[in-house]
Symmetry: C2
């Protein structure tokens, strides 16, 4: 029987580092500044964006919030990006995804100055990550690597299995684990015998968007399991499959008619793993903390300090 | 007991494709043109470069060969790259690696127009490969994928193990296998229990630069083994370890005092695998054939045909 893996200490370490770096930069006359761009009224995006702006404020990082109407064109958004690219006072640019469907998302991401691309989604940064060159890299995988460094004595030589191959989590996660000298396996929906493949992992990173996919038989005794999935469950049959009657999650479901649940079958995984991150209250904290680190990193590099 | 895996038919298919595409482009008034740049007198590089130029000639692709002295500066090479970038008649630029040590290799690679980067080493192309966007991708892994498509009915769902994590072969190979929906494991010098990890592979790609590393106990019955390694053996003890007395390789060694040997212990691997590529006479042909394909692809994209 394993333990819940706390992400908060790592998130706080990252936030403290960002806060101290911000103070040091300010003492040199440089004020780190994040520009956050939101297009449209997506409720989840509004929450994410306001959390990011709020965290900037708590750390002393300046922020601007640019809100554009839902019918914004690619050209109009490109013009804003160009303005922010050219603004020497702006160190980080974050365009909240997803964008409305009339906008060419890939053109927008490619238009951001790679050295201001705090999400790490620009092709140049994706390339730099693979090549082992300095750059800005995606916040969730970067945060997860910090969590693993804080939790596992030696990463080198461990077998890490990444479940999912998204551009935002799975693929950059694999690159970062490789950089830490892990043996890395990437599995996905087409993988045959998934329990056997995943069952070899010393470290499992689940980032696939399928609630409870990583069941107990996928988990080796003593493994460390990081759950990056956030899925909304609204059907009783789904919730009763994963949560015991009388549990806190089940009570929450009875009250609200919905709960958030990760990609890991938490109760089963906990029986075998050494550590499992919870959902919610898990890696989400790491993502926003590493966004702050990326923002300060961009400001430091620009000032060459 | 498996078979020697012939690379020549795939290489010829790629060369024919490049030849036909070149003819079609010429009929439209576009003459695909590769500029090859060699700095210094490295004998191996001279052989590689002259093979590339020769193959261009055989296919009707125009080529220019720019030879610079060994003491060329980064600035001088950058100036040449800029000239070639700006030359609308040049579709592909290949700077033969390795460069003399006074030259900043990464600055040179990053200076090449990504749309003329027929080696696929520019960070933007590395990023595009990972993101699944169109680009120019490294020739050896691209050639190997074509070989696998020609040799294996269904790649989807197969477990591929890539031995080695270089920027030129291992990492792009893993991305390409993932794109074909393989489960992909990347292992390397820090991997624990390498025989167990590699022993699960339906497909093994060896690209690590250690002669005969992939021994029989690393190979699952019926696996397909692609050997990308080319190592020179000059010591009798090394040769007698891998080659039987009286074999063709041993005779060659007795005569010349050296042989080329791959990363796969060929005789042992052949006992268990279904197919093993030989060294030499293996994937090398695929690399140069795919360089021609990349060159024609660059010309086609520029002409938007």
């Amino acid at each position: 029987m394993g333990d819940k893996m706390a992400c908060k200490p790592t998130a706080e370490r990252l936030l403290n580092q960002a806060r101290q770096d911000t103070e040091a930069l300010k003492a040199k006359g440089i004020h780190p500044h994040l520009a956050v761009v939101l297009v449209g009224e997506n409720p989840a995006s509004q929450v994410y964006v306001s959390n990011k702006v709020k965290t900037c404020g708590e750390l002393g990082i300046a922020s601007t919030f640019e809100k554009l109407p839902a019918d914004t064109t690619t050209e109009a958004l490109l013009a804003l990006i160009q303005k922010l690219n050219g603004d020497d006072g702006v160190h980080g640019i974050l365009v909240q995804l997803p964008l409305p469907e009339q906008i060419d998302e890939s053109a927008i991401i490619s238009a951001i100055d790679p050295d201001k691309d705090v999400d790490g989604f620009h092709p140049v940064n994706v390339g730099r990550l693979s090549l082992g060159e300095p750059g800005l890299f995606p916040c969730t995988p970067m945060g997860v690597i910090e969590l693993l460094k804080d939790s596992i004595d030696v990463l080198k030589g461990k077998h890490a299995v990444v479940v999912g191959r998204s551009n935002i989590v799975g693929k950059p996660m694999a690159q970062l684990l490789l950089k830490e000298h892990c043996t890395v396996t990437i599995m996905h929906s087409r993988t045959q015998n998934p329990a056997d493949v995943c069952g070899q992992a010393d470290i499992i990173i689940a980032a696939v968007g399928v609630p409870g996919l990583v069941s107990g038989d996928w988990v080796k005794e003593g493994a460390v399991v990081v759950d990056v999935g956030i899925n909304e469950l609204t059907k009783e049959a789904d919730v009763t499959r994963f949560c015991k009657e009388g549990s806190r999650k089940m009570k929450a479901f009875r009250k609200k008619g919905r709960i958030l649940y990760g990609d890991v079958f938490y109760d089963e995984a906990l029986e075998k793993a050494a550590l499992v991150t919870p959902v919610p209250g898990g890696v989400g904290k790491l993502t926003i903390a590493h966004l702050m680190v990326n923002c300060v990193t961009a400001a430091k590099r620009k000032a060459d300090v």
